[in-house]
Assembly symmetry: C2
Homo-oligomer: 235 residues x 2
Amino acid sequence: MGRPAKFNREQLKAAALALVDEQGLASLSMRTLAAALGTGAMTLYNYVETRQDLEILVVEAVMADVRWPKAMPGDWREEVRVIATALWHAVRSHPQVIPLILTRRSRTPAVFGAAEALLRALARSGRAGHELLVAFRAVSALLIGMAQAELAGPLTLQAGESAEETVARFRALPQETYPRLIDIATVATESSAEAEFHATLDLLIEGLAAERAPARGRRQRGSKAVSADRMQARR
Amino acid sequence: MGRPAKFNREQLKAAALALVDEQGLASLSMRTLAAALGTGAMTLYNYVETRQDLEILVVEAVMADVRWPKAMPGDWREEVRVIATALWHAVRSHPQVIPLILTRRSRTPAVFGAAEALLRALARSGRAGHELLVAFRAVSALLIGMAQAELAGPLTLQAGESAEETVARFRALPQETYPRLIDIATVATESSAEAEFHATLDLLIEGLAAERAPARGRRQRGSKAVSADRMQARR
DNA sequence: ACCTGAACACCGTTCAAGT
DNA sequence: ACCTGAACACCGTTCAAGT
């Protein structure tokens, strides 16, 4: 007894991310990761509860290097922009992991830290309680949604498809039924994910600024007494 | 030769969706679906190319029943709201399929039709070309992102966790480091996905309305000549 | 405490043989 | 043309035996 550990979670994390980055998500399995570490599959279970647990580890590895300046320039809009962009860049630098990011959830200091920073920035717009939650959800959703668009957007290239082929695919649709869709598909091939992300984020931030209507009350902070009156069934 | 087909894609589609709805996504396999149809696994390959193909079929099944009124009430904002909400409801009514929706892409008339309708509504805000693309991306991303939030949101309940347990989990975090995160976690347990979706959508629509700045030129329609000047590297 | 091979109950898919 | 069983090369994970 008292046998010294051969590995640790940090090593698995790094090896798993490297494997996914280099060989793709499909290449990750308990057996392949073990082989990459020079051991048997069962050894991994000393560090990881299940395969899902391993996948969460990979997501954590990606989110771990989100960095943003703590001293913030300018107003809250710029602060929101910087933090959201930092998160987006972290996700984008490991495109193979995106399906896991969409699908697994990591509860790690890196993510919590970014969330808290984002909340702090959004709170500077004058929001608290449910309004702050909504603002946070909106920015998060946009981020995740734009990451997903990169993976499988209806207008982006398919795997191994050229821009010309994509346009051709859309042009093959009935022109009278989908005029705007066909048009936009053409535009999309000349656009960049980076530009689109910033433009959509600006759109949302514009909304956050516009809706910061002064006289609406209900601005107490740290309260659980946020009323639910405006919350129900809008249509 | 000339042997009559025992099934068709439509039947597989319906059976697969029913299986996922009732038994969960993990229960879907070529073998289980075949068994549900009373045949062997290999028979399915007469209708479906691969397992991925089958998964896309399931996504199509979900998107197939998106419905929205063709005659639109009120202004373009209301129109955007109605279409986005219709899409969101379709997704939400099959929560087990969400991971597939996030991860696979369906190119089906139902989805194209909804996209075209959304584009038409957004175009009424005075957008065309790249601006229209951005508006479309933003609404789509918000939709997808809010669907994902339901699956794995950092503030929502974990599987089989009560609201109290969620709050407790967040309260266990260091209060000085994550004051707003802890606060918002409490607020989230009293909120509803429906209310949050509508609120975030309104936020974005507000931004779409605010950014509809008049004198900015470049409004030609159906053109591929949308310039890329404002598109590059914002920061 | 940690390591690990054998084994089990699954997968998706190829192949070859049927009608 | 469509059907289908056998087989192959994988999975994640349990178990039991090791140190």
